[in-house]
């Protein structure tokens, strides 16, 4: 399969800071590619470079067979870009916003515009001012505006940030439909459960690519490790003692649950013996299957937001 987007040694520096550092990526048609990372990892900078909004400091990319720098104008008519912030005209109606963005590309028939509003559940608000829509519908409209011209490659910068779970699921259905239709989707997110839904993904940390592949391949990076969880009341002294235990890589506390990533230096028996010494424990450690979040935290030492 030929890549619809291949990124080669892409770098963006702002002053002395490398926001994106020598990044390589390949995206394929019909697939959703997820770029994950904590805030300020360089996700937005990457997507903005690839959509032709800012210029790379060095490196190159081939977008739909065209050179990112030299052929950016031709590229722009064949990609879609959904910015992180709503880029809508609040004083225009829903259908006026769509008509405007559609008119920037080779003509998008009225009938298609109407059909898209219908398909994305926006037809009922066609005459409402965009500024008056709820967050979820603003997001839908942003997406419709960015894909009305039927682009082959769509960049979506945190398309589900601040969106309720039901709407988020609906949006992902949309993404799958687009991918099924042969489009390439480039999505940034910091939701781990969304990462699981991507065909392929990459973790970014401080501008560096720290993981790259299918979700299974990425989980495979922790093959030699084990993940355990147990429940306990919060006890800072116990956490501190755990951290000193040899073989403990990550301690991830969430509410009453503590999740540990441990390597071969710590056996299950040793862990059980350790936990027995602390009176606050309710129950034995349970071995868990490795999640993308485990990998992510292990690789970056960062909690995903």
């Amino acid at each position: 399969m030929t890549a619809s987007l291949s990124v080669n040694d892409l770098t963006k520096r702002f002053g002395d800071v490398s926001a994106v550092d020598h990044l390589d990526l390949e995206l394929y048609p019909g697939q959703i590619f997820g770029l994950l990372g904590p805030n300020a990892a360089g996700k937005t900078t990457t997507i903005r470079m690839l959509a032709g909004i800012i210029r790379p400091t060095s490196g190159s990319a081939v977008v739909l067979g065209m050179d990112l720098i030299r052929e950016i104008n031709a590229i722009k008519s064949r990609i879609g870009y959904v910015a992180q912030h709503f880029a809508l005209y609040p004083e225009l109606t829903v259908s006026e916003n769509l008509a405007f963005y559609s008119s920037l590309y080779r003509s998008v028939p009225r009938a298609r515009q109407a059909a898209m509003l219908e398909q994305y559940n926006l037809a009922q608000f066609a005459d409402r001012y965009a500024g008056r829509l709820s967050g979820g519908y603003k997001r839908r409209l942003s997406i419709v505006c960015a894909i009305s011209h039927d682009p082959e490659l769509v960049f979506l910068d945190e398309p589900t940030a601040g969106i309720d779970p039901v709407t988020r699921k609906e949006l992902w259905d949309v993404f799958y439909d687009l991918a099924a239709a042969g489009k390439t989707l480039f999505v940034t997110t910091h939701y781990m459960e969304e990462a699981e839904r991507c065909h392929r993904l990459s973790f970014l940390s401080q501008g560096h690519r720290v993981a790259y592949g299918t979700p299974d391949e990425i989980r495979g990076m922790l093959d030699h490790m084990h993940v355990y969880s147990f429940t306990s009341n919060h006890n800072p002294r116990m956490v501190a003692a755990l951290a000193r235990l040899q073989g403990v890589k990550v301690i991830n506390r969430f509410g009453l649950t503590t999740r540990l990533v441990v390597d071969a230096n710590l056996s299950r028996e040793e862990l059980e013996r350790f936990l027995d010494e602390w009176p606050v424990i309710d129950g034995k450690p349970v071995e868990e299957s490795i999640s993308l979040e485990d990998v992510f935290i292990t690789l970056t030492g960062n909690m995903p937001a």
Binding site: I53, I54, R55, A87, Y89, Y101
Partner: protein, 375 residues
């Protein structure tokens, strides 16, 4: 009270994070204050006066010297009376003086000759000041030596003035202030529409985050700017003709049919220049606040230093270059010429070229400044 202070403190903090705006707030008022303090005087000074002295006598010299020493006028000689009027029409002179060849002969006969003075009526402040001051030209210090009465005569009457000063106001004989101001008001209103609307229009795309979306689309830089300004060009043109026609209808402002072509060209050059300047301002501003501040910084000197209210000639020589840097100065000169003085386009060619020059420079500036990339 505490809450008010908290709010005020937050507001100050926000201001402090916008160093450019702070610069505008502190720097511009100081600059404008100094500029206006030096420049603005209602009393005219150094007004150019064309004269013809066919008498060439001690007495005609006395009158010229007296006018010169008033300090209002800088005199220069022309060939004949028609040349005086022509120079005033072209704006080379704002006033004229004609002394006929029979002046001193008439003085000897006590027949009270008249001296003809011309004033540019498109500058009412000047015309009014002349009216108020013309007595100083005919006061005793000048006229004492011009009496040729027989001192031994029986009936010593209080002599009339030895000569009279005839002041003729050209181009606006009634010194209508509305005629003086209205043509310029057109320019001020157009300036508001084209400058402030365009300056904020582009910044608004930035603030709305829509600029980023547009950059990601195939819309070209030229397409963006052209499409952005087209509505404001149309609005500015509608305003231009609306105000002129209203002026003609309500205030009898002349709207000469013969000058429609030049008027249209004036509107075109002026609007193009201002809209391009608006785009340039928009590209250097990060926020609408900054854009509005910059526009106003341009608007106020335009109104005060352009000759719209105060004659440029009355400003000190080192301030005048500022006037020549304002498109509005040329607009005022052209529109008064076309509407009031009956100038043809060839009379105003320098002013037209200046306006076109501004349009070119500002367009170039806005294209250079407008980036296709956000960084």
């Amino acid at each position: 009270m505490k809450l008010i202070l908290a709010m005020a403190k937050k507001e100050f903090l926000q201001l402090r994070r916008d160093p450019r705006l702070i610069g505008f707030i502190l720097f511009f008022p100081v600059l404008l204050m100094i500029l206006f303090g030096l420049a603005l005087k209602l009393e005219p000074e150094n007004v150019r006066m064309a004269y013809v002295d066919n008498d060439q006598s001690l007495f005609s010299n006395l009158i010229k010297t007296s006018i010169w020493s008033e300090g209002y006028f800088t005199l220069y000689e022309v060939d004949n009376e028609a040349a005086i009027i022509r120079d005033i029409q072209l704006g080379k002179a704002r006033a004229g003086l004609f002394i006929s060849s029979t002046f001193s002969a008439a003085l000897f006969e006590n027949s009270q000759p008249s001296v003809q003075m011309y004033v540019d009526g498109t500058m009412p402040s000047l015309a009014t000041a002349m009216d108020n001051n013309k007595h100083s030209i005919t006061d005793d210090s000048v006229t004492n030596d011009m009496y040729f009465l027989d001192p031994d005569a029986d009936n010593v009457v209080i002599p009339p003035d030895p000569f009279v000063l005839d002041v003729e106001v050209l181009f606006n004989p009634d010194k209508k202030e509305t005629w003086f101001f209205l043509p310029g008001v057109v320019g001020v209103l157009i300036m508001q529409v084209s400058l402030i609307l365009t300056a904020t229009a582009v910044v608004r795309e930035k603030e709305n985050n829509t600029l980023e979306q547009l950059i990601a689309s195939p819309l070209s830089k030229t397409g963006f700017i052209a499409g952005k300004i087209l509505p404001y060009v149309i609005i500015a043109f509608i305003d231009f003709y609306l105000i002129l026609l209203l002026g003609a209808w309500l205030f009898d402002l002349p709207f000469p049919a013969t000058n429609q072509g030049p008027l249209f060209l004036l509107a075109l050059a002026y609007v193009a220049g201002l809209i391009a300047l608006g785009v340039a301002i928009s590209t250097i501003s990060q926020t609408q606040q900054q854009a509005i501040f910059l526009s106003i910084f341009f608007l106020i000197p335009s109104i005060l230093l352009s000759g719209f209210i105060f004659p440029v000639e009355a400003m000190p020589g080192y301030i005048q270059p500022v006037s020549w840097l304002l498109p509005f100065t040329y607009f005022v000169e052209i529109i008064r010429g076309l509407l009031l003085k009956g100038n043809s386009m060839s009379d105003l060619v320098v002013d037209y070229l200046a306006l076109l020059g501004f349009a070119t420079v500002f367009t170039w500036l806005s294209i250079v400044r407008f980036r296709k990339y956000l960084d």
